[in-house]
């Protein structure tokens, strides 16, 4: 899967979790950019991503996801 394909899937996950079809995430997207992205929504988001990509994250990995770019890097490293 390419990085672009990961971002396409991430768009879908974010759109579902935030119920907003206009959301499109980029490398630099952070929780400050999307209304309602608090710590609990973050966990729901992580759970949804784990389901879509069939992977699992540990606490340290989740803590290291400072933006969606880091999230994509982490996903790519797990599905490689």
């Amino acid at each position: 899967m390419t990085r672009e394909e990961v971002f396409e899937k991430l768009d879908g996950v974010f759109q579902d979790v935030f119920d907003d079809k206009d959301i499109h995430v980029t490398d630099t997207t952070t929780s400050s950019d999307i209304e309602g992205w608090d710590s609990l929504v973050h966990i729901s988001l992580i759970s949804a991503i784990e389901g879509v990509f069939d992977i699992e994250f540990d606490i340290d990995e989740i803590s290291a996801m400072k933006n969606v770019g880091k999230m994509a890097d982490m996903i790519l490293s797990k599905i490689a």
């Binding site: 952070t30 929780s31 992205w37 608090d38 710590s39 609990l40 929504v41 973050h42 966990i43 729901s44 992580i46 759970s47 540990d58 606490i59 340290d60 989740i62 803590s63 996801m65 400072k66 933006n67």
Partner: protein, 186 residues
């Protein structure tokens, strides 16, 4: 997705009661709680007086970056099997973070098992509250059971999920957990 914050947990004081009253009636706080209370400051003062002599529960204020942000509590402290319950909320939106939630939960386990010498701790969470259920799982909690239509609130029945951490499990897994140690006022 936030940096590390300074977190502390201290005993409730009189001056906190108005904050607690307002937090506890916020829709986003009551949404996943067993009751939607209508509180008054006078009622809060009576609750606080009663709390001082109640040895079955314990409550603290969560302070994040120097600002009171929420409440954490233990229940069933008199359980003969050493199984306690707990709950918490952070009511100030800009002080919420994943790292804070993890640190609070794991530090509470340290307090419950190392200081109080309890055997297990149970969280009961509305099954619809997927974020908190996932959070407890990340902290190492195990699924215990789900009770269908366990709580009725405002005429609506809600399923409840029960998750457990035991002293044995916590002592096995905590070494690999990285979290900010939050000290609980004894």
């Amino acid at each position: 997705m936030s940096g590390e914050r300074t977190v502390s947990v201290r005993r409730i004081q009189d001056a906190d009661l108005e904050n607690i009253m307002n937090w506890r009636m916020k829709p986003e706080v009551t949404r996943y709680m067993n009751t939607d209370p209508k509180l008054t400051l006078d009622g809060q003062r009576k609750w606080f007086v009663k709390l001082q002599s109640d040895e079955t529960v314990d409550y603290w204020i969560i302070v994040i970056d120097g600002e009171p942000a929420g409440v954490i509590n233990l229940a069933d402290l008199d359980d003969p099997n050493g199984q306690v319950g707990w709950a918490y909320y952070i009511a100030v939106d800009h002080l919420k973070s994943f790292e804070t939630a993890i640190s609070l939960e794991m530090s509470l386990y340290d307090y419950v098992f190392d200081h109080l010498k309890k055997k297990s701790i149970i969280a009961n969470v509305f099954s619809a509250n997927k974020g908190v259920i996932a959070l407890h799982k990340l902290c190492g909690c195990e699924f215990l059971e789900e009770k269908k239509e366990f709580i009725e609130k405002n005429g609506i029945k809600y399923d409840m999920t029960f998750q457990i951490m035991t002293v044995e499990r916590w002592r096995t897994i905590r070494e690999k957990m990285h979290y900010q140690k939050v000290k609980f006022d004894v």
